[in-house]
Symmetry: C2
Subunit: 321 residues, 2 copies
């Protein structure tokens, strides 16, 4: 059986036909144009999916269902996108519109929660039943997987791991509060901290690494220069890992996951990122050594995380029925 | 049907026979004497329960099972108390010993998690499917109830809500870290903050309230004097409620509970405590107003929370089978 995974982004919608092994057998995309109404976009999306099923020589009976990952505030009970700031969508009945145009069961989730399920079903979390995903990007997205099932919270609006406060009164967050986890642990935070450290330390090797152009600093700059032994870079990395670890301590004390999966560009640092966190964590979380060891893993789905996460929603729905 | 609820405390073990409406039909207790071995205590406990069943003229077939709430690190998979610092118990096979002596199914949980289930099944949470319990005492205990089931985390060791860091680098916590929620939101924290404010403000009405004896300050002092309009007391209360609210924001952003139940002596302040938190919360949690409204309630089980929580473990086990 196949599932249709629909990954809605700010610029385009990516769609894939996905088999039960998590392989994308067919993929296509649709642009999200400014000025086109939300209803029109849903109509075109349904038509496109129907046309691609036909073009691929497939039948509706080949599909188990459709999964949709969508940014913003998604109500999983009603199947509606209540509000998506980036897309400027309001109260859009995505499940209703797509299920009537495609004629298959449709399940929707917040995109970060969908990515969590994708990693659990097809990615780094395949061997575990209790997981937390942290995607380190502009903010910190992610989700929670409990007892072999995606945990989405009431109405599907939980799992906002990036917006847990770890330092009350601390850094200003885009959500309006101060001290949210993502203001310390996101890639944006790491980049800002890297630049700040460079400005204070003009002799840091990081200046050579970016050829004197501080605007090209990215999430790898401090890591790569720390590997070269640059003291300033090492401090930036240690500090960043400290923030990340303390945030993870909180999730461990609540969830006791088997593993925490790190995603986003920074997770490309692999063991260089995960090993220090795993070691610090063992010392820090409450009740250690009486609590289960928590592994720190890196995401495996890469660029296909969105499509596979969305498709996994359709597979999980059927498994649970 | 009846369940046997066993509430293990540092000084004594309280036991109750509980019916499906959450009424305690028979109760008794056993002292936990220093110097008596952990194995001996379990043997005596089993004998006592058997004798009380007989004395009450009941039969084993009247009972659905036994639930045990125990402080410390409890492994719900093995049924053992891995470590309980207050009792000085180590690797004690509570489920194994009690089920073989009593001859009924036994389920164990950490006492705070058991209390959560008790409130959900018989107390303030009866009408809700998604709950967080915060017991404001020496520390902050509590637990999480998700989708109509107790959430205990991997091995049953999760739900340590008091040990989530809300202010990294902040107040020293007994767990060794700094800035845990309980260092700001526990009754002990409120009492310490009250005393501090009194020492700074010798003309506060709180001095009259405690007849000049600062050692008698308790969790009600600041609340009662704030009601009389004392400025210092009002500041202490506002500050305390602010900490509590921010901690609750974190749990809302992860769990989106229908309600948060507050327990412990301070919850006796009822609306005076809950209304300001409910109002602040509506402004603060991420994604509001698109997320479900969270009610703030006070615990209803009072002194029987331990026995009823323990008994609820036995009832839930059967319901889920």
């Amino acid at each position: 059986m196949l599932a249709i995974g629909i990954d809605i982004g700010g610029m385009s919608i990516k769609i894939g036909f996905v088999n039960e092994r998590g392989e994308i057998t067919h993929r296509f995309r649709m642009a999200v144009l400014k000025g086109v109404s939300q209803g029109q976009i849903m109509k075109e999306l349904g038509d496109l999916v129907n046309a691609e099923i036909e073009d691929a020589g497939l039948h509706y009976s080949d599909f188990i269902g459709v999964g949709v990952g969508c940014p913003g505030s998604i109500n999983t009970l009603t199947g509606r996108c209540d509000f998506s700031p980036n897309l400027d969508w309001h109260d859009l009945d995505i499940v209703g519109m797509l299920s009537s145009s495609i004629g298959l069961p449709v399940r929707i989730a917040n995109d970060a929660n969908a990515a969590m399920l994708g990693e659990a079903m097809f990615g780094a979390g395949k061997d575990f039943k209790n997981l937390v995903l942290l995607t380190l990007g502009t903010g910190v997205g992610g989700g929670v997987y409990i007892d072999g099932k995606l945990f989405e919270g009431n109405e599907g609006k939980g799992g906002e791991v990036g917006h847990t406060i770890i330092r009350l009164g601390g850094r200003q967050c885009s959500c309006g509060l101060r001290g949210c986890f993502e203001t310390y642990a996101s890639a944006s935070a790491l980049i800002a901290d890297t630049k700040k450290a460079m400005k204070k330390n003009k002799d840091s090797k990081m200046w050579d690494y970016v050829h004197g152009n501080i605007d090209t600093v990215n999430g790898a700059t401090a890591f790569e220069c720390a590997k070269l032994g640059d003291q300033t870079a090492m401090e930036v990395v240690e500090n960043y890992e400290m923030w990340l670890t303390y945030g993870i301590v909180n999730f461990c004390n609540i969830f006791r996951p088997d593993a925490v999966i790190l995603g986003g560009g920074i997770s490309g640092q692999k063991e260089y990122l995960t090993r220090p966190i795993e070691e610090k964590l063992a010392e820090l979380h409450y009740g250690f050594p009486m609590t289960p060891k928590v592994r720190i893993l890196v995401s495996k789905l890469g660029n296909d995380a969105g499509i596979l996460g969305a498709a996994s929603l359709a597979f999980e729905k059927v498994q649970n029925q």
